[in-house]
Amino acid sequence: MFSVSVQPEPFDIAAEQARLCAGNPGVGALVSFVGLMRDHNDGQAVTRMRLEHYPAMTEKALGAIVQEARARWDLLGVRIVHRVGELKPGDPIVMVAVTSSHRGEAFRACEFLIDYLKTRAPFWKKETTAQGERWVDARETDAAAQARWRR
């Protein structure tokens, strides 16, 4: 199963993982990454966050990233779920889960997928601090993480 979802609702990590493996006894490895909302950023406490996206483009961009991963590694399944809308500290924001026969492919593909998602998928975070609201700036370290995979 290869699928992506963008949704305002919270997601169930265990249920998503179970669905990804169900009906495929050939799966020998499942690697998941879950990104959570921190209660601090750039030295300030953050109380809330709002995630905006470009609806027509988001799932298309995520689908293209999944295709790129499939072209590089032998994968049995990929599931990406990304939340939009209002979030609070501790909330899962994104989940990237990958299945393969052996762990090496799943580990590498999972890291590749989140690195690409962070620089290519059209999401924007706006956080609320004691000083008010502010847009989160893109990080140089994310661009560098993505650049490692260029070939």
Partner: protein
């Protein structure tokens, strides 16, 4: 018509989420950008040479050289911060 969209910080700076713009004379992204900058003020500022922003044509990342056709959807947005 070209359907033009603005997201996040750009939407707030420009005071609108999108607008239709007459496609006449707009052959590629660069010519649309030049037309928007001609409005001056916040347009010149937010979409100026020194600003970092991305552009997508029909929901795919594009460059200033990307060709435009009547009916295209063009989006301008800041570097992405999801995940």
């Amino acid at each position: 018509m070209i359907q033009v969209l603005y997201f996040a910080r750009l939407r707030e700076a420009l005071g609108r989420a999108g607008e239709p713009i007459d496609a006449a004379g707009l052959t590629e992204v660069a010519s649309l950008l030049a037309k928007l900058r001609e409005r001056g003020g916040v347009w010149e500022e937010a979409l100026g040479e020194g600003q970092t922003f991305l552009v997508a044509v029909n929901q795919e990342i594009a460059t200033p050289e990307t060709t435009l056709r009547d009916g295209d959807e063009v989006a301008f947005f800041p570097p992405v911060t999801g995940g």
